[in-house]
């Protein structure tokens, strides 16, 4: 890439890039962002938003517990949630079921609330959808 071709399309961060100067020598330059890359990130975030919305719909119709919604919102999967909370994967999977979720005690719920950085009450309240 030539130095004058370095993209300057307003991204979130200034990237340092290796570029070729007019004499053919390598040097570095700062790029203000590249539209191609910004758009790739947009696609990833659109996917996340879509999955989060789908999870919310599942919670509202009583097919999944609130943990599913917060998990998707935090771009996590069962493995990551298990690693952060200290539960086993199979336990997290069970907690995704509304029937199991409503019988969870506060101590367990608190672990999830802490992970998702929400109040315990918020988590509980959302669980009332399916009830």
């Amino acid at each position: 890439m030539k130095k004058e071709d370095l993209p300057q399309d307003k991204g979130a961060i200034k990237d340092l890039c290796y570029v070729v100067d007019e004499r053919g020598n390598y040097t570095t330059g700062l790029s203000d962002g590249w539209e191609i890359k910004v758009k790739a990130l947009d696609v990833a975030w659109d996917d996340i938003k879509e999955k989060t919305a789908a999870a919310l719909a599942e919670v509202k119709s009583g097919k999944a517990s609130p943990i599913k919604y917060y998990m998707e919102r935090s771009i996590m999967d069962v493995g990551i949630v298990a690693a952060y909370t200290g539960f086993w994967r199979w336990q997290v999977k069970r907690h995704l079921k509304p029937g199991v979720f409503k019988n969870l005690n506060d101590k367990k719920l608190k672990k999830y609330a802490d992970l998702f950085e929400i109040e315990l009450e918020e988590l509980k309240k959302m669980g009332e959808y399916g009830a």
């Binding site: 890439m1 290796y18 390598y26 790739a40 990833a44 990551i80």
Partner: protein, 336 residues
Amino acid sequence: MELSFNHVQSAHCENGVTRNLLNHIGIEQMTEPLAFGIGSGLFFIYIPFVKINNGPAISYRTMPGMIFNRACKSLQVPLLRKKFNSEEAAKAYLDEAIASGTPVGCQVGVYYLPYFPREYRFHFNAHNLVIYGKENDEYLVSDPVMEHVTRLNAFDLNRVRFSKGFLAPKGQLYYPKEHKTVSDDLVRKAILTGMKRNIRHMLHAHVPILGVDGIRFTAHRIRKWKSKLGDKAARSYLAQLVRMQEEIGTGGGGFRFIYAAFLQESSAYFPEKGLVGISEQFTKSGDLWRSVAVQAAGIYKGRLGGQQDYDHLSQMMMEIADIEGNAFRNLSKTLK
């Protein structure tokens, strides 16, 4: 306390940490391209049965941690690398190292990294930065992909050092154990070792998903993405292909450009080996990776989307595989 530490921004985090830490202990010759080249950083791998964020697992560079390890080993710098089971022990160890005057490299996850822009914060756990001091409850941070030094409080630093998921850092830290200078002869030897190892990885891995063969393997797969996954998922896959190529700082085909810069710098150590010409081949490959990103973006932005557009993308990657294959074969010949 604040240690004297020279923060220089780099294209890629591990290169930057390696360069900055080795400069700090007295190895003046170290630059980002040299760190990348000596560490045999250039790579390609596509793991077909693993998914990351529901997309393909692709990497354009070597395993995390290897660049630093190899650079130290080749330059005969004793290093320390340590993981922790306990968060308290990890904090105590770091505090002690800083107190004794040693800047420390840390592997961290970016999901909870507060100074990173929100849109980059996925559960990516192989980011690297240097802690070079502490003031009250705040750690002084040299993150090589940032323009300027920054700070993290103890809570945030602990959280990113113990982020969870794939490649969880487990508080991992590393640093060169002693100050030393190295001769140009040793640098020359390190460069040769790095090049030979990189040739081996890219040309003779004997596994179809690695190196130049891996690029061809991926090119074949991409042809089938549209019919196999459907338009929507195929678009997400392509965005991920570009995102992995575009890790923060590396820009389109960025690793190829860094390798080209490495060969150009190496030609000063080996003027007789015609490395400048081979460097140009990697520049060409980097430019083509950029074109791949543009073509892929045409599809995920919805401007393109027919099977012929996927075929074209696949052809471009085949061409890249040929160029990189030839470049490494040329490099191999000139080293003999």
